[in-house]
């Protein structure tokens, strides 16, 4: 498109000219080099055409009183824009709407979690919130940090994917399949009882199958404890007895074992205590940004927030009033009984969350060691656990068939 065409489309008019000898008018326009388009013959005394706005004034002067000019339309992008810009309320409304749309796109409006099976969705959302990822947070949150936080909290997650679809954050998780997970096997299928974890056998009580491991023996993870292969001796007298017959059963029974568990904890030797000075001030935070935060005179302070409103839709708006109290930090040596109490609480939490149900703690020993400001606590637990789980026996049917044929 050449420059003349661009200038024409900026603003042009459609006019009808009435008068005698319309060819003369067109020739005058040709001489004056006026840009005319779509010259249409209407009658002997009338023609219509399009002329650019700049040439229109020249045309009027050229025409004088010999011809009558009738304006039938006005076009062009500049003409349309000027008409649009005159409607100030419409322009202001469109501008505000665009700003709201852009502002809204900066925040996460909804979080969808997919792929979880054994993990509680509420616990997952709580973990994400602790990492700074929640409905209403900014999209500029470091997603890698959120993923690492989730991996730290949940051991049985093997993969996490976070994807944005507009303002929707879609989180897909894949849970780990444990190798020796206690899957229930159909009671008609043959299986062995194997050790889910390494330990020292305390007692084996087989209900079905042949006991393999002895009391007091150390067994490794995956080792067969009660076998589902029961040997059968032939009762007939034959000279060519080659193999004993083997019968496959669904092994069952309970296996208790002493499993040692070793844990390590670290606690600071000096406890930090916050002592209030009595000075207080109030601040306002909008969308988690504290206004005039640099004017706060306190070096160390404790902040209590009250959320007045927390909207995510249609627009992200969170208003909080913060009470800022000045505190002074002091250090006090932590008492040994407090350290012991903390460690025992952690041990109970660990047993409840990580170890199987019905686990008993037979013995525990705590070993304290202090280096500089850190107290290292080594914990050794002697636990009594049921470690037997079922593992299916895959039988080669072709060999079984040939044995059957030999019997016939």
């Amino acid at each position: 498109m050449n420059w003349k065409r661009c200038v024409f489309l900026k603003h042009y008019k459609k006019i009808t000219v009435e008068g005698n000898d319309t060819e003369r008018l067109i020739n005058l326009c040709l001489i004056k080099k006026l840009n005319l388009r779509k010259i249409r013959f209407i009658s002997d005394r009338e023609v219509s055409f399009y002329v650019s706005y700049d040439d229109y004034e020249v045309l009027r002067e050229t025409v004088g009183r010999r011809y009558r000019i009738i304006d039938t339309g006005e076009y062009g992008y500049r003409y349309r824009m000027s008409g649009f810009l005159k409607k100030k309320t419409l322009v202001a409304g469109l501008l505000i709407f665009s700003l709201i749309l852009i502002y809204q796109s900066l925040f996460v409006a909804e979080i969808e979690v997919l792929g979880y099976e054994s993990i509680n969705e509420q616990a997952l959302r709580k973990t994400m919130r602790a990492a700074g990822f929640y409905e209403g947070c900014r999209k500029s949150v470091n997603l890698e940090k959120v993923k690492l936080h989730i991996y730290d909290e949940f051991d049985n997650i093997s993969w996490i994917g976070i994807k944005y679809k507009g303002n929707l954050a879609q989180i897909t998780i894949a849970e780990t399949e444990y190798l020796y997970e206690n899957k229930r096997i159909d009671s008609s299928s043959p299986c062995n009882i194997i050790a889910a974890t390494a330990g020292y056998v305390n007692s084996i009580d087989p209900e079905e199958g042949v006991r393999i491991a002895e009391d007091g023996a150390y067994v490794k993870e995956g080792q067969v404890l009660i076998s589902g292969e029961v040997p059968l001796e032939k009762t007939t007298f034959e000279d060519n007895d080659k193999n004993e017959n083997v019968s496959y059963v669904h092994a069952a029974g309970t296996v208790d074992a002493k499993v040692p568990v070793r844990l390590n904890y670290y606690i600071e030797a000096n406890e930090k205590i916050k002592e209030k000075t009595g000075k207080r001030m109030f601040t306002v935070a909008i969308n988690d940004r504290i206004l005039l935060n640099e004017l706060c005179p306190y070096e160390v302070a404790v902040v209590h927030s009250i959320t007045l409103c927390n909207w995510v839709k249609p627009i992200r708006f969170k208003l909080q009033v913060n009470s800022v109290e000045e505190v002074v930090l002091k250090e006090e040596k932590i008492a040994e009984k407090d350290v012991r109490k903390q460690v025992i609480n952690e041990i109970h939490k660990f047993v409840k969350e990580k170890l199987p149900d019905n686990t008993q703690i037979l013995n525990k020993s705590l070993n304290f060691r202090q280096e500089k400001n850190i107290i290292y606590i080594g914990v050794t637990l002697e636990t009594l656990q049921q470690i037997g789980i079922e593992e299916e026996i895959i039988v080669d049917k072709s060999n079984r068939q040939s044995d059957q044929n030999d019997d016939k």
Binding site: E23, I26, R37, I39, R40, F41, D44
Partner: protein
């Protein structure tokens, strides 16, 4: 075509040059419009006159001695000046 004819064809300013493609006609070296109706357009090229007859003829563009006509063209005739 000889060199002389080619040069005359490319650089002539007073002989008519008509290019017809479908319903579009491009006429160069148009000095003046003599007759303009929806069935007949006659132009002066300097040395002769060109008449284009047809139906629904509309001058789509006119400027710089070039005219673009749109419509159903039937006849093109050339007349020399006396």
């Amino acid at each position: 075509m000889s060199v002389k004819d080619e040069l005359a064809f490319d650089f002539s300013i007073s002989i008519p040059r008509i290019v017809i493609c479908g319903e579009m006609v491009v006429a160069d070296n148009v000095k003046r419009i003599v007759v303009f109706t929806d069935t007949n357009v006659v132009v002066h090229n300097g040395s002769c006159y060109t008449s284009m007859e047809g139906k629904g003829l509309v001058i789509k563009e006119l400027g710089e001695e070039r005219m673009i006509i749109k419509g159903e063209l039937e006849t093109v005739r050339f007349f020399e000046t006396l």
